[in-house]
Amino acid sequence: MGWPEFLFLLEGMKWTIALSAIGFIGGGVVGLAVALARTSGRPMLERATAAYVSVFQGTPLLMQLFVVYFGLVLVGLDLAPWEAVALGFTLHASAYLGDIWRGGIEAVPRGQMEAARALSLGYVSRMRDVILPQALRVSLPATIGFLVQLIKGTSLASIVGFTELARAGNMVSNQIFKPLLVFGIVGAMYFALCWPLSLYGSWMERRLAAPTR
């Protein structure tokens, strides 16, 4: 395996990072909405989002991507690969992040909400200034844990034609026929991406577990 192959893998890794970023940002925005809806106190909204979460947590990401990319076209929604992947990862990530953050919101003591109400803060301010900062802090380790899952999950984007790290590895191994070596390197590259995040996540967790008062 030579230098050009390695550069090719690096190129794939760039896509992996880009896809993860898309998924994380899209999933973050929608996931926040999901989390807020699930804690809104409106039964209809809560049930709808609970169903949403269980559907996207209950089916393999690979199938979701496939249905979004090749299925939506059939009903006339022609998405570019980019858009399809962004949509697929957003759906997937928002279900998980929404669930993680809902847990965080529920972990904030009730009194915080009541105190904010008693100060006549409006909904937006209550959430933005009081509840969410505390909720996100609590859920940070789980959020990072999910980000790691997402990075690894982008390997499935090859089904819609992205040459990200895993697919690049596949292509290289098809040309030089040393899959063990190539996948070893691919694994190491994933590891290099994910491990720092994992370390940061467990560091955060330990810091949160330490008594704060």
């Binding site: 269980s54 559907v55 947590q57 209950g58 089916t59 393999p60 990401l61 690979l62 199938m63 979701q64 496939f66 249905v67 090749f70 299925g71 059939l74 009903v75 006339g76 790691v148 690894k152 390997s155 895993a166 899959p179 063990l180 996948f183 070893g184 691919v186 694994g187 994933y190 590891f191 991406l193 994910c194 491990w195 994992s198």
Partner: protein, 222 residues
């Protein structure tokens, strides 16, 4: 739109798909059992006084958690023969799934063990119980109860992960689906159907976990 849906091949293939579901459940459940064993044993080793053992567990956990399952399963499949172990795809997939789930289970169960009040352990020691018995009889069950939701959530994810095992020709739903797809080229119908089947399986799995929890963890707490 110049494509008409045709579920005919899916309908004729339904018995095979259901057999595939059974295959998936076999992979998932055996993987979970192995994962649970690895999780419990791993936690014990992780807390052992021997430093190399602790480090080995940490390295194992980090390695598995930070690489894609596809890479892991290829390694198990292609690397085991190099050291003379030649297993059929399904056992290979079970081993890979067990290792993968085990790494997550170690971290989760460890969190549960740490959440057990120190007084419980001390009470066990004060009664003259050995460390082994204290872990087995006093710590383990409350620890598992404490982390039950995350553990079962992880196991449902493991069920979905089995779909990747089709890459090494293990017998499970996705590989059956790919076969039907190859014969009929009705991709959307096939994948749409198995998406529903996966959802049903994970839903069933959650229900089953709920039952287990009611049987096994139903002691009252304050």
């Amino acid at each position: 739109m110049n494509y008409t849906l045709d579920f005919g091949p899916v309908v004729t293939g339904l018995p095979d798909l259901l057999k595939g579901c059974a295959g998936t459940l076999v992979l998932a459940v055996s993987g979970m059992v192995i994962a649970l064993v690895i999780g419990v044993v791993g936690v014990v080793l992780r807390e052992s006084p021997l430093r190399p053992l602790r480090w080995a567990v940490i390295a194992f956990v980090e390695l598995i958690r930070n690489t894609p399952f596809l890479v892991q399963i290829y390694f198990v499949f292609f690397a085991l023969p190099l050291i003379g172990i030649r297993l059929a795809p399904t056992p290979t997939a079970i081993i890979a799934l067990g290792l993968n789930g085990g790494a997550y289970a170690i971290e989760i169960i460890r969190g549960g063990v740490q959440s057990i009040h120190k007084g419980q352990v001390e009470a066990g020691f004060a009664l003259g119980l050995h460390k082994r018995d204290v872990f087995r009889f006093i710590v383990l069950r409350p620890a598992l109860r404490a982390v039950y939701p995350s553990l079962t959530g992880q196991f449902v994810m493991l069920t979905l992960t089995t779909s990747i095992a089709s890459a090494i020709a293990a017998y499970e739903l996705t590989s059956v689906a790919k076969l039907i797809e190859n014969e009929s080229f009705r991709s959307f119908e096939v994948y749409g159907t198995i998406t529903v089947l996966y959802f049903l399986m994970s839903w069933l799995m959650m229900r089953a976990f709920g039952l287990v929890s009611r049987r096994y963890f139903s002691y009252p707490v304050k």
